[in-house]
């Protein structure tokens, strides 16, 4: 039996030449110390493969048409056997692919693997990153729910920031004057034909370059390949691989397989546990009671766009973003030689720490979005009893004004309510009564002016109420800075006791 199989295989190999094609890539030598740091690229590729398989399956049922896409998602979720699971795997594998790609990129950057002669490998990698993010964004649009509708709207509005060609670009991406079926068709074509095609080509190039230049050693102090010198690096690397390298298959591939196997199991468990992502409410713009939020890879952009001052926003979108991308592409030319040790490259290492911290903090802010008004806080969060206990009629009237004027959409009272403006539970310790009236009437520091919208009596009552909002034992401020003085006095009294 075994003999027959062997004969059959050698016949196939002889007639197709398959081992001649696959042998050298599988057997190419890689550094002996390329161990667990080197599994993330393969894992990103694995998730992309999952995307292709599940994507093709979803396309069997999904209708890329503005009038039926949403219903086809519901059909997938509730009627088609296993449809929800495929949607879940596709969505979570997309998140995992973005995450793994970023880990891979961080490793390559920290280990200086982008340096000579692997500049083109890095450039292909950055192009792959952009394509992956584009796939993630267009994938979110495929859900064709309210998040997708308003997400595309945000994209169209960002186009409008670009001078001269902004309107032109808006209509190009929308495929018409409004967000409609033609828009979905455009994004579908991108998501299913153009971007995956580009991805396959780029992955091919990326892998070809990996084979051409080999995998770089993990940089160690005094270890091989610590310094990159254009004159000697290549020959020395090839020499080392010939003498000390190990074949990619099975020596390095076994680690890839272990890691990828674990990740696959984690993916399926997460997908089964959390289920598919979305859809949010229907893509009907007349339902304005929505809270549009982007998917996780774009939460940090959502945060940046909320936190920037309006004056620099245009420059960020139109000028800074292309410059950042350009720098990313040019990194191997800005630092193409020299030490690859992270400890010898403090600016590079600190940039990674700074970038990761920044992305995490911004993404977390994107999740909590403290800048967004709580649209229903004024009807859903009652004034806590401690704030109305023992108050005079005019002060109570002020509490009603506070509630009815939607103040709490932006301001919290004892932690309940919007977080856009400062907490009002202790506002009396910061502002005197006159200052409260001025702030309410004229607005300032991101607060609208209510001068025209509240009567004098309402403003007066509101100020009377707010001036009672202070913690027990701390007196309300009668002039600016009064709280500091009180606190000092309290400290002094405590110290004397």
């Amino acid at each position: 039996m075994m003999q027959t199989l062997k004969t059959a295989w050698s016949w196939i190999d002889d007639r197709t030449g398959i081992m001649k094609l696959l042998g050298p890539p599988l057997k190419h030598h890689v550094p002996r110390n390329a161990k667990w740091w080197y599994v993330f690229g393969s894992c990103t590729l694995l998730f992309f493969t999952i995307q292709i398989v599940t994507g093709i399956c979803l396309a069997l049922v999904y209708a890329p048409s503005g009038d039926s896409a949403y219903n086809s998602l519901l059909y997938l979720d509730y009627v088609v056997p296993g449809g929800w699971m495929l949607r879940a795997i596709h969505a979570w594998s997309s998140n995992a692919m973005v995450f793994m790609m970023l880990v891979h990129m961080t490793q390559v950057f920290l280990h200086g693997a982008f340096k000579f002669p692997r500049e083109m490998t890095w450039i292909f990698g950055v192009a792959l990153m952009l394509t992956t993010l584009a796939l993630a964004f267009t994938g979110q649009v495929m859900r064709w729910d309210s998040d997708a509708y308003w997400g595309v709207g945000i994209g169209a509005s960002m186009m409008g920031r670009i001078p001269f060609i902004g309107g032109w670009l808006t209509h190009l991406i929308l495929g018409g004057p409004i967000i409609g079926g033609d828009t979905l068709s455009r994004f579908f074509t991108l998501h299913v034909f153009i971007l995956p095609g580009a991805m396959l080509g780029l992955i091919g190039g990326h892998l070809m370059l990996v084979l051409r230049h080999g995998i770089s050693e993990e940089p160690r102090k005094g270890g091989p390949g610590e310094f990159v010198d254009k004159a000697t690096y290549r020959e020395a690397y090839e020499e080392r691989m010939k003498k000390k390298g190990v074949p990619f298959f099975p020596d390095a591939a076994q680690r890839d397989m272990v890691f990828c196997g674990i990740m696959l199991i984690v993916l399926v468990v997460v997908a089964a546990w959390y289920g598919p992502i979305g859809p949010s409410p229907r893509p009907d713009p007349s339902n304005i009671l929505v809270n549009p939020r982007p998917d996780f890879p774009f939460l940090w952009i959502f945060a940046i766009l909320a936190l920037l001052t309006p004056t620099i926003e245009d420059y960020l979108i139109v000028v800074a973003a292309p410059i950042v991308l350009m720098v990313l592409f040019l990194i191997p030319f800005l630092a193409g030689t020299g030490s690859r040790l992270p400890s010898a490259r403090p600016i590079a290492s600190l940039s990674v720490v700074l970038l990761i911290t920044g992305l995490l903090v911004l993404s977390w802010l994107g999740v909590t979005s403290p800048w967004s008004p709580h649209m229903s806080a004024w009807t859903s969060d009652a004034v806590p009893p401690s704030f109305v206990h023992g108050r005079t009629p005019i002060q109570l009237q002020g509490a009603i004004v506070l509630q009815h004027s939607q103040c709490r959409n932006c301001h919290s009272l004892d932690g309940l309510g919007g977080k856009r403006g400062p907490e009002l539970g202790d506002v009396a310790t910061r502002l005197s009564r006159d200052q409260i009236i001025r702030q309410v009437q004229q607005g300032d520091g991101n607060m609208p002016a209510f001068g025209k919208n509240l009567t004098a009596a309402e403003t007066d009552a509101l100020a009377a109420f707010l001036h009672t909002c202070h913690p027990p034992g701390v007196l309300p401020a009668d002039r600016p800075g009064a709280r500091l003085k009180q606190l000092r006095e309290i400290d002094k009294a405590r110290a004397n006791n």
Partner: protein, 205 residues
């Protein structure tokens, strides 16, 4: 024959002059022309929405009887966009905010926040529009109150004809696509063979 064939390719493999060199040039030329002939409709097809002047295709949209809009109040109205494709579905239900300031005066706002296009909500008690995305706030007349928007809300052109309110629209606005239409591009509204502009009959046909 085979000898002469070899002579028309020089040592670097580049075609020399001669019959085959001539043929190569003809071939390259024909492929070039053919390629352009194919590329023109393909590119035209892809870029057509970008080169279409949608502003010129805006038209008057009926928002219904003016009685639906009480004086001094701001209410949501929904219309079907006049320009749409066959698969638009529910995305065609476009909302807008109608503010009636007096018997004869209106202000009609696009739903889209001037910051990044999210739908703004009207709060009648505080007389403010608020945006759920990044916290843009506008006063009741649409002017910017606070938050990241670089300007006030986008507005529609409108007119009242025979007690019905009409808006001139068809496009989603952004900083490069104005809400209001240049005066010369506003076409008259035809009702029962009479053309109207600014609520006045300008021509009967």
């Amino acid at each position: 024959m085979s000898d002469s064939d070899q002579t028309i390719v020089d040592s670097e493999g580049a075609p020399k002059t001669g019959r085959r060199g001539f043929m190569f040039k003809i071939g390259a030329g024909l492929v070039g022309i053919g390629g352009l002939l194919v590329a023109a409709p393909v590119l035209g097809y892809i870029f057509a929405p970008a080169f279409t002047n949608w502003e010129k295709r805006r038209s008057w949209i009926d928002l219904g009887d003016v009685k639906q809009f009480p004086v001094g109040e701001t209410v949501l109205a929904v219309y079907k966009n006049p320009i749409f494709g066959p698969t638009v579905g529910e995305a065609n239900e476009i909302p807008c905010w109608v503010r009636r300031t007096s018997d004869s005066q209106f202000q009609i706002f696009y739903i889209n926040c001037a910051h990044l296009g999210c739908p703004v909500h009207w709060f009648a008690e505080s007389r403010l529009f608020m945006c759920p995305c990044h916290g843009g706030v506008y006063y009741e007349d649409g002017s910017r109150a606070s938050g990241p928007p670089p300007r006030g809300l986008f507005e529609y052109d409108w007119q009242v004809v025979r007690n019905k309110l009409y808006v001139f629209g068809g496009e989603i606005p952004n900083l490069q696509i104005p809400g209001k239409t240049p005066k010369d591009d506003i076409t008259p509204l035809t009702v029962d063979g009479v053309e109207y502009l600014d609520g006045k009959a300008v021509k009967s046909t």
